[in-house]
Amino acid sequence: MSSRGGKQKKGNVTSEQEEEEQPLQAVLVADSFNRRFFPISKDQPRALLPLGNVAMIDYTLEFLTSTGVQETFVFCCWMSNKIKDHLLKSKWCRPTSPNVVHIITSDLYRSLGDVLRDVDAKNLVRNDFILVYGDVVSNIDVSQALQEHRHRRKVDKNISVMTMVFKESSPGHKTRCEEDDVIVAMDSKSKRVLHYQKTQGLKKLQFPMNIFQHGSDEFEIRHDLLDCHISICSPQVAELFTDNFDYQTRNDFVRGILVNEEILGNQIHLYVTQDGYGARVSNLQMYDSVSLDMVRRWVYPLTPEANFTDQQGQGCTHSRHNVYRGAEVSLGHGSQMEENVLIGRDTSIGANCHISNSVIGNNCTIGDNVVLDRAHMWNNVHVSSNVEIHQSVVCDGAVVKEAVRLNKQCVLAYNVVIGPNLSLPEGTVVSMHHPEEEEEDDDDEFLSDDQEVGHSKDKTRQKAFNPAEVGPEGKGYIWKASMNDTEDEELAQCLWGLVLNPDPESDSESEASEESQDRSRSVSPEIDDVNAFQLEVLGTLQRGLEENIVCDNLVLEINSLKYAYNITLKEVMQILTRVVLEYPFQQQGTQLTTLQYTGSLLPLLKTWSPVFKNYIKRAQDHLDCLSAVEELFLEQDTHQTAMVKVLMKMYQLEILEEEAILKWFSTGATNDKSRQLRKNQGVRRRVRRMSLRRKESAEDESSEEGECGRRGIKTEDLRTV
């Protein structure tokens, strides 16, 4: 009691000072600038998603108002109109509100950096301000932190630019967001941040020595901190963002300040609180735990029954085991609300249901024999009988038909219909938006081309729902978790934020790729490159075949690959030949009969003949090509008979010239096997016929004589061996 009483007194003192000085301002960023909630946030901005049946932004505004903020700037970007409408209807925009809310919208904000640069450009803040996101849920009393911040700024002029508020919570805590896991080194006395690093699942962490060499003699390195995403900023912060246009996030800013500390002389401080609650709903995993924390009353006095948004009919009652019921809730016979259950108004629940750790919105209907565990249902959801839902989010207007089972971490976005008789596997995301539409939309965000949006919508309508995925009466498309991992910088797109990138290459991808290039350059380039090139050529040809690409383009691509991997022309040709001849094996396995092999190869040769012709021009090229063919058939002893057909075809397609084949036949024979190959009946006959024809046309007797004589010798040799 004493500490509380004391704190309250201090709070009063600060508020008195505020009245003398200037009112406390806050910047609320009602956009996340990432796509963690993606299929859901497509229909509703994240700040308006309900948490315990109250929009998240209301928690943030209540937090700000209760800390004595008198002027709040709300910055919206994505779906700014919805946020604006919501705020204008809420109690925050009533004339009696102690916290004046200004809404600033722009489609041009792409990051926190943009917002703060705009704050600077418009000259909105005149004094220290509180910076929060629109999805922060907190009841921390920051007046203490504010006082410390002001004191520091008074003592050493404007050196401290930011005080970050952290909550103590040991690792393994449910409400710790893995994405935001940080290691902080700080000066124990002044609370100055010396080093700040996101752990990102790293096993090893490095601290620069110099941070421990100056300043005081006591340091703390802490990992037991939960980032509340509440920061008390000096007006300089906005200026610094303007000066450094590459700062996008607070993380960039903090790192930048720490790196440039020597030059700019700015410092960042930390405020660690043990009381209170503060967390940012940065992914669905956090949504789940924050929602549960709220129902378990960790955020008191922001509890569901408090109705702090002061909306008509939102009130509910609180009874034992944290069961909250809104007005007009009906509960069927034998239904049990075990613990931590919040049920919105006008919701009816059938008989023999088991509900635990769940939040159910307004106007929902739930059938008989339903099991809900950690289910988060929003408004107007319809659930039929015999449904089981575990740790899932069901958005507004969704319908779950009979005997459906939602396993862990499923998401049913707005208006989706599922079932009947279906079990959705773990981590399924179903949305009425087709996943492919999403990428086009992403472009639209930048182009804002209405025509394209319409186009993509038309396209989705054409695509039918897959009854195997969403049930016979289902409506919606399954979103694959790996759909847009290229989109996010650090993580695979992952609503639940569970899949952490185990690689420590998060800080800069460019560095990592540079490294890999360095490595490949230093270690024997040829072997690696040739192999890589071969694979690339194979891929190119495959794609060419599938998508019917013109041979000219294939040539172009192979040429560019040649430069990329630093390959000589000779190698290109050899590899090309090899790839083409191996192609049937690649596609259909090595167990082909010779007949099948030739059957599939010959048409391919015909298709790709322009490619060959492009590379095989000089006489030496022909020989190289032939030697490649020979090499391959030496490896594939069983298919040696096919060689003759290949040669024939290549001859017919005018890839190889007669002269070259004859020359090859006459020379070569570097080892026994190749001799055997040449001895092969078909080859011999073919070549002889070829040479005969040649003789007829060219009347070149002697060469033929020589050929025969030499061949005779060869056969002799072979017999001896």
Binding site: P98, H173, S319
Partner: protein, 367 residues
């Protein structure tokens, strides 16, 4: 911010200025109530809450637009409903609303000149036949009604100011020399009561610390500053120590209509232990804590706060595996209580119903 303030004043037309100011005040009070009580009960004492409520209601009476007592009662009821809904566990607010309503009824009756009518319902016969003073009769307009009501509310405020002193004055009648007194947690009224007695008598106070908020520690510090011999014990030791105790003196948050208590948790333990040892249990409760509520009204009876004090948030993994509750109040049944000491004297629990009917009009019990 200068511009924002300007904007605000511009919005309000000069005529509506008073009313806007009033709504702003009410909103601020409601917000305060909602945020109030971060675990340890009200930050302000309930006496302060009572005074603030009354002052606010006086402001409403003075500034709101009304022409007859009926209008005024309707306005007060409306605001009263919102105030009680804002923090249901804070019953003083509702009590004060009822007191003001009662004042308006009395003043109206006096203005009509039928002062004997406003006396308490003396008999069952009168109760049955007293339907005469119903709503439509409050429509009559009296010029001096406003002034009279405000005057009466001022009297109420003066009464509220003096409650703690009035209770403390009775201390010497109850505490004798060399007694051992037990108390639980911290109550401003009990603190004043004991301090008053300590001016003349020497006695020993044992304070149960009252986990998890441990307000008992603060109580003990304050008492020892007033040079009272004080011992702090853990809640678990209450029964063990009880055999040495001559008297238990506790405070309470609310006195319920049946004479039971809604008091800080730990009080029930103390009351049961006292009963086992036949130790008298005295409750110091000013009259404004007397509420027409009965203990069966489940929804508003409990108050659960953040479980932080029971199991800190820093604990980590275990928090996701257990459910932690942190209730604030205990219910103490009236049969465990020996005596109430209020600002108007000592009363037995069985007499509470009588006080109730003196303080509040029966028609107002439901706002």
């Amino acid at each position: 911010m200068g511009s924002a303030i300007e904007a605000k004043t511009h919005k309000n037309m000069p005529g509506a200025d008073k009313e806007a100011d009033l709504t702003e005040r009410i909103e601020a009070f409601l917000a305060d109530l909602k945020r109030g009580g971060c675990g340890t009960g009200p930050i302000r004492g309930s006496g302060e809450t009572a005074r603030e409520t009354t002052a606010l209601l006086r402001k409403v009476t003075a500034q709101a637009r009304w022409s007859s007592a009926g209008d005024l009662m309707e306005i007060i009821r409306k605001e009263g409903r919102r105030m009680t809904a804002a923090q249901p566990s804070e019953t003083t607010v509702g009590n004060m609303v009822l007191r003001v309503l009662k004042i308006i009824r009395e003043e109206y009756a006096r203005s009509r000149g039928s002062s004997e009518e406003t006396d308490q319902q003396e008999s069952l016969h009168k109760l049955l036949t007293s339907g005469g003073l119903s709503e439509e009769n409050f429509r009559q307009h009296f010029v001096h009604l406003k002034a009279n009501v405000i005057e009466a509310i001022n009297e109420l405020l003066t009464e509220l100011e003096g409650t703690t002193d009035n209770i403390a004055m009775q201390a010497l009648e109850h505490i004798h020399s060399n007694e051992v007194i037990m108390t639980v947690g911290r109550s401003r009224t009990v603190e004043a009561f004991l301090k008053d007695a300590a001016r003349k008598r020497k006695f020993h106070v044992i304070v149960a610390e009252c986990a998890p908020f441990c307000q008992g520690h603060e109580m003990a510090t304050n008492l020892s500053k007033a040079s009272i011999e004080t011992t702090v014990i853990a809640d678990a030791a209450i029964f063990a120590v009880m055999s040495r105790v001559n008297k238990v003196i506790i405070g309470t948050q609310t006195v319920l209509a049946n004479g039971g208590l809604r008091a800080v948790n730990g009080t029930h333990t103390v009351a049961l232990a006292a009963r086992h040892h036949s130790t008298p249990l005295i409750v110091c409760a000013p009259m404004f804590k007397l509420s027409p509520q009965f203990p069966n009204e489940e929804d508003t009876f409990h108050k659960f706060v953040s479980p932080h004090e029971v199991l800190p948030f820093t604990e980590g993994e275990i928090l996701s595996k257990v459910n932690v509750h942190c209730p604030v109040f205990d219910y103490v049944p009236p049969e465990l209580i020996t005596l109430f000491i209020s600002n108007i004297g000592g009363n037995a629990p069985s007499y509470i119903y009588r006080l109730m009917s003196e303080l509040y009009h029966p028609e107002d019990h439901d706002l």
